[in-house]
Symmetry: C2
Subunit: 336 residues, 2 copies
C-alpha cells in the first residue's frame, strides 16, 4: 500500500507553478488531492494534471489544514502573507520566492546540501533557491573537495522567462517588429531587448548591486556552507527565451587537477558534462532537461590555479520547479 | 598648403574595410589618391568615397610604391602575403589582422600607448589590436594608476558581425524562420544562433582556449605593457548584430577608490561614462559611436578591492576601423 499526500501549489498559473504541477505528474509524485491556488486575478483558470483540468482557486480562502505540503511559487509578498497560516495549520512548505530567512527556511539544493533536511522539525519549512544559485550549487558541490576555493566569478546571462510570460511575449514582439522594419516601441523592458544585451536585471542599490545579484551570493554561500566565500556576480538579461547560462571562473589556491575535475563532474548527480572541444547551449541542450549542462572545462590561459566552466540550465525547470520537487521527494519520507 | 597622403586599403569590401573608408572621409583624413584593394573575388566592386564610387582592384597586381600608407583590413593570410612587399616599397602599414609579431608591428591603441609610435622607424609597421583588446585597453588605461592590479576577469559577449556579413545574414534568417515557425536549418553557425548563446567562438586548442581568447590576452598585455598580468577570458557569441559587450572584474591588492575611478573614467579620452544606476547597451548606445561606453561601475558585493565595470563598443567601428585611423592620424605627422 503506497502513501499519498495532499498538496497545494500557490502561483499555479505562473511559468514556474505550471511546470511544477507538470513535474509532479511526470515523476509520479504521490499526490492525493491537488489544490491549485493563485491570486484573485488568476483564480478561475485551469491547469492540466493527470488528464484532468484542475481549477485554480483563490489562495485567500484556502484552508491549509487540508494539505500536508504547500509549494509557494508566487512572489515574496504572497509567501510573507500566507507562510505563517500554512505552518500554523501544521502544513509543511517549500518556498521558491526567496522571502523567508535562512534560519526559518534553509535554502536546499538536493545535489549539494540534502543533509540539511535531517535537522528540520515539523512542519518543515524549506527554501528552494533562485535558479542561478541552484544551478551553481549543483556544479560547485562535486568540485569543493578538489579545490582550495578562494573566489568565484560569475557572469550570468539570464533568459527573459525569468521575468514571466509578459517578458517572453515582449521579446517575440520586439523581434518581429524589427525584422519587419517597424518602429520599435518597448513596453515591458524599458529599451530594445531584441538583438541586444541589458547589463542589469532589476534596479540596483546605492552600491550598484541588484537584488538578484545579492540573492545569488547570499543563497550560494548558504547552500555551500561557505559564509565568507568571495563571489563576484553580474546578472545580464540576454535575448534568449528560456535557459540561463553562466560563465564561471573558480580561483583555487593551488593548481587545479583537470582530470579529477572532469571525473567528478562526470560522476555527479544532476550534471551532464559535454565532451571537450564542444559546449552546451541553452536552446538545444538545457531547455526542457532535468540536468545542468557543463562544458568548456579548462584552466586559465597561463594560470593553472584557475578553473573555468560554462554552465547552462533550464531556469524554470531545473533552476526552480524541479529543484522544489526534488526537495519534496526527500521530505515526504518524514512528512506524516 | 596642406599635406596629403596616397593611401591603400586592403579588404575594402569587408565590414571593417568599408567602415574604415567611411571614417577616413568623416574625419577629413588628408587622403590624396585612395586605392581600394581586395582579393580577386571582390575586385570589381565599388565603395563610395567623397561622393564618388571608387573601384576595388586586385591586391595581387598592386604597386605599393604608389602609396605612403596601407591599411591591411583583410585576414591574416593576406597580411602575411603582402606586408613585406609593402615595406620593401617603402610603404608604412597598419595591420588589423593580428598576423604580425609585436616586435615587428607593435599593437597600438592611441588612448592607451600612443608613446610606442615615437620609437618606430620608417617605413612604420603598426598593429591595431582585436576589437576586444582595443575596447578593454581604452578603459584600463586611465585606471591603471588607481589600482594595484592583480587580475582581470573578462566575459566578452561578441556580436555576430565580428564574423563578417554572412554571420549577420544568418542571424536574421534564423530569427525570421523561428518567428514564422519554420524548421531551422543552421548554415553559417553549426547550431541555432537566434535566441541562443554560443559559449565558444572558433575552435579551441587542446587546453580549451580559442584563438580569439589567446589573442585578446596577448594583445592586452602588450598594449598595457603588463606582460605577466593575469587575465581570465571567455569569448561568447551573442545573438546581437553589432556591438560587443564586456563584463569585467578587476582585482586590486587594496580597496578601490570609486570616486577616483569614476573621475578618471569621466576625464579619459574615448570613453562615455553612463550615470550610476543606468547602464549602456550595444544597440541604442555603442553602435555607430566613436567611444567605448562604460557603466555599472561598482566594488564587489563585500570585497572593496574588487572593481566591476560593464563596457560596450561598436566592434567594427571603435574596436577596429576607427582605432586604425586614429593610429594613422598620429603616424602621418612623421610619414613623409
Amino acid at each position: 500500500m503506497s502513501q499519498s499526500f495532499d498538496i497545494a501549489v500557490i502561483g499555479a498559473t505562473g511559468t514556474v507553478g505550471e511546470t511544477l504541477v507538470q513535474i509532479l505528474e511526470e515523476r509520479d509524485f504521490p499526490v492525493g488531492n491537488l489544490h491549485l491556488l493563485a491570486s484573485s486575478e488568476s483564480a478561475g483558470h485551469s491547469v492540466p494534471f493527470r488528464g484532468k483540468n484542475v481549477r485554480v482557486r483563490e489562495v485567500d480562502e484556502f484552508d491549509f489544514s487540508k494539505v500536508q505540503l504547500v509549494f509557494f511559487a508566487a512572489g515574496p509578498a504572497v509567501t510573507l502573507s500566507f507562510a505563517s497560516r500554512a505552518t500554523a495549520a501544521g502544513c509543511s512548505l517549500i518556498d521558491l520566492s526567496g522571502a523567508l530567512p535562512a534560519d526559518q527556511a534553509p535554502q536546499v539544493v538536493p545535489e549539494a546540501n540534502a543533509q540539511v533536511l535531517a535537522g528540520l522539525k515539523k512542519p518543515f519549512q524549506v527554501s528552494s533557491p533562485s535558479p542561478s544559485a541552484t544551478t551553481l550549487a549543483v556544479v560547485l558541490a562535486p568540485l569543493l573537495g578538489l579545490l582550495d576555493l578562494q573566489r568565484v566569478n560569475v557572469t550570468a546571462s539570464l533568459a527573459v522567462s525569468a521575468q514571466g510570460r509578459e517578458a517572453v511575449t515582449e521579446l517575440a514582439r520586439q523581434t518581429a517588429e524589427l525584422l519587419n522594419v517597424r518602429p520599435l516601441e518597448p513596453s515591458f523592458f524599458d529599451r530594445q531587448m531584441a538583438f541586444n544585451l541589458l547589463a542589469q536585471v532589476g534596479k540596483p542599490d546605492e552600491n550598484g548591486h541588484t537584488l538578484l545579484e545579492k540573492r545569488l551570493v547570499r543563497e550560494l554561500r548558504q547552500v555551500m556552507a561557505l559564509p565568507s566565500l568571495k563571489i563576484s556576480v553580474t546578472c545580464i538579461q540576454a535575448p534568449v527565451f528560456f535557459g540561463d547560462s553562466f560563465n564561471v571562473t573558480l580561483q583555487s589556491a593551488s593548481a587545479v587537477d583537470l582530470v579529477k575535475v572532469n571525473a567528478a563532474l562526470e560522476d555527479a548527480p544532476g550534471i551532464e558534462l559535454v565532451e571537450a572541444g564542444d559546449y552546451p547551449t541553452p536552446v538545444g541542450d538545457a531547455v526542457g532537461q532535468d540536468v545542468v549542462y557543463v562544458g568548456r572545462v579548462r584552466a586559465g590561459i597561463d594560470d593553472p590555479s584557475e578553473l573555468n566552466v560554462w554552465l547552462t540550465s533550464d531556469n524554470v525547470r531545473k533552476g526552480a520547479a524541479l529543484n522544489a520537487v526534488q526537495v519534496a521527494e526527500l521530505l515526504i519520507k518524514d512528512l506524516l
